[in-house]
Amino acid sequence: MELDEIYTQVITENSRSKEHRYQMQAPSVVKEGVNPSCGDEITLQLELDGNVIKDAAFIGDGCAISQASANIMIDLIKGKTTEEAKRLSGIFTGMIKGDVTGEDELDELEDAQAFQGISHMPSRVKCAVLGWHTLDEALKGVSEQQ
């Protein structure tokens, strides 16, 4: 196991970043996600304007992988439409599962590509996808409302 492939600088720095880690004033959607086995928790907050994610933030407690992944995800989805966000989420989970390997697609994930190495560590996959999974759940609620 190559630790340096997992705990890259991108991941360790993002895991402690405060950039998107705060309580939003009036989010349109709030969704909690947990990994019961390791206790990672995040609460994702989205402010929607029509189908555009105008703003997003999270609060959470968990391992470096889960917290970094949530932070990087928010970087990516801010300003995107809900459809685009869902598509990125599909690429991310595809990358972790090893189904998505095309460079063009992976490039769309920007910093989130740093989690590619996790696909070799089944016990940590849940950590990496927690944020994205919570996003999917949050958006599911939205499309049901609309």
Binding site: Y7, T12, C38, C63, I65
Partner: protein
């Protein structure tokens, strides 16, 4: 006995990967198995394989004999009668058995079930569910800041409407013991039934049912060098006799008619369906392994390693240790590397083949009470050595820098 000698009984501990051996510090989750246990299981399938208690041919008689020998071995191991030993799948099932039979039959609305805050979910959830089903109250005994459950706490909470007092013998997170004597005495005083979870004690110390004075005792073979899939419930004979069966099916009956049935005598009454005689064979071997090494030697070796671990870990400024240090502890040490989530710590250690558990250890209410979401746990068995502790410490020193943090 040398460290190397003990270690050499356990094949997995000798297996090298990338030129290094594992440092197995997760025995509280499950122990390693010595060669003789593995051999006994394989020998059953090679030589005695048949369904116990079913056939009349030689192999079936052999299978029955192997299975029942495990029962008599278990009985003499804990000073009990063989008919009061019920084999289950694990300690969890043993406790559920009591909750769903004795509990369902005897608990009434307004009654109380008392447990400690240290319980593993296995000795918590069955009671929580039972209480909800019956409209009874689930009450917790808390520890004071010295990690002690005081007499006063017990006297206050174990009231006359307490029907069940269930507690762990040794905590799987803190490694500390419950005040067994006081608890069983108090239970007798108020007429409550006691259920003692010995899953984390019996791997380290002698458990004798008469000395303990409890009504039910539960433990798992896999935490004491035995196979997975075999648990033990010992119960006081009168209680086992009067309780209804738990699971029903093959072999647990006396007579079945279209609309009703009568139950087999103990212990078969509680053992529905085909049992696992191979696991029983392995368990017999595990018990004789413990007897051969002896609890004195086990205790002495484990204490030496435990004390050494506490001393070394206390010296690491990057490590935060939890629990008391002035009372005897067994098996488990909870800790965290400062500012690092336990899962990340465990991942970094695992790169050095140091195996520790990270998480809530199936004791969420306890961790919450300790102000934690999760922690790492190193847990020890007879095969661990001071060298294992050194490798743990060496690896722990890498954790913060691996996560891009400086020294503390």
């Amino acid at each position: 006995m040398t460290d190397e000698k003990i270690r050499s009984y356990f094949p997995q501990l000798m297996s090298e990967r990338g030129g290094i051996r594992p440092v197995y510090l997760d025995s509280a989750a499950t122990s390693q198995r010595p060669e003789e246990v593995i051999d006994a299981i394989s020998s059953f399938y090679r030589n005695n394989n048949a369904n116990p208690h079913r056939g009349t041919y030689t192999e079936a008689e052999d299978a029955t004999a192997v299975y029942e020998k495990a029962r008599t071995d278990t009985a003499s191991f804990i000073g009990a009668d063989a008919c009061d030993i019920i084999f289950t799948r694990n300690a969890s099932e043993s406790i559920n058995l009591v909750a769903y039979t004795w509990g369902m039959e005897n608990l009434r609305e307004g009654d109380r079930v008392v447990i400690t805050i240290m319980e593993h979910h296995s000795n918590l959830l069955p009671w929580q569910r039972l209480c909800r089903a019956k409209g009874a109250e689930l009450v917790y005994l808390y520890m004071n800041e010295d990690f002690e459950i005081t007499d006063r706490e017990i006297d206050e909470k174990v009231t006359s409407n307490t029907k069940i007092l269930a507690f762990t013998h040794v905590s799987n997170v803190l490694g500390i013991m419950s005040p067994v004597k006081k608890l069983t005495e108090k239970a007798r005083e108020v007429g409550a039934v006691t259920v003692v979870d010995c899953a984390q004690s019996i791997p380290h110390m002698k458990v004798d049912v008469k000395e303990m004075g409890a009504d039910f005792i539960a433990f798992s073979a896999h935490k004491m060098f035995g196979p997975f899939g075999l648990g033990v419930l010992w119960g006081r004979n009168e209680l086992l006799e009067e309780m209804p069966p738990f699971l029903s099916g093959g072999e647990m009956i006396e007579y079945v008619r279209e609309q009703d049935a009568t139950w087999a005598p103990l212990p078969a009454k509680y053992e529905a369906g085909t049992q696992d005689p191979a696991a029983a064979a392995g368990f017999s071997a595990a018990l004789s392994f413990i007897q051969r090494i002896g609890y004195d030697e086990i205790g002495k070796r484990e204490k030496a390693v435990y004390d050494y671990a506490v001393e070394r870990l206390k010296d690491l400024s990057c490590v935060e240790l939890y629990g008391p240090f002035d009372i005897e502890r067994y098996g488990a040490i909870p800790f965290n590397v400062k500012d690092v989530h336990p899962h990340d710590t465990a991942t970094v250690l695992s790169a050095d083949r140091v195996c520790v558990r990270a998480g809530h250890h199936c004791a969420q209410p306890l961790l919450k009470r300790m102000g934690l979401n999760s922690c790492c746990r190193a847990s020890f068995s007879v095969y661990n050595s001071k060298e294992d502790v050194d490798r743990l410490c060496e690896s722990l020193l890498k954790v913060r820098s691996q996560l891009g943090l400086g020294d503390v």
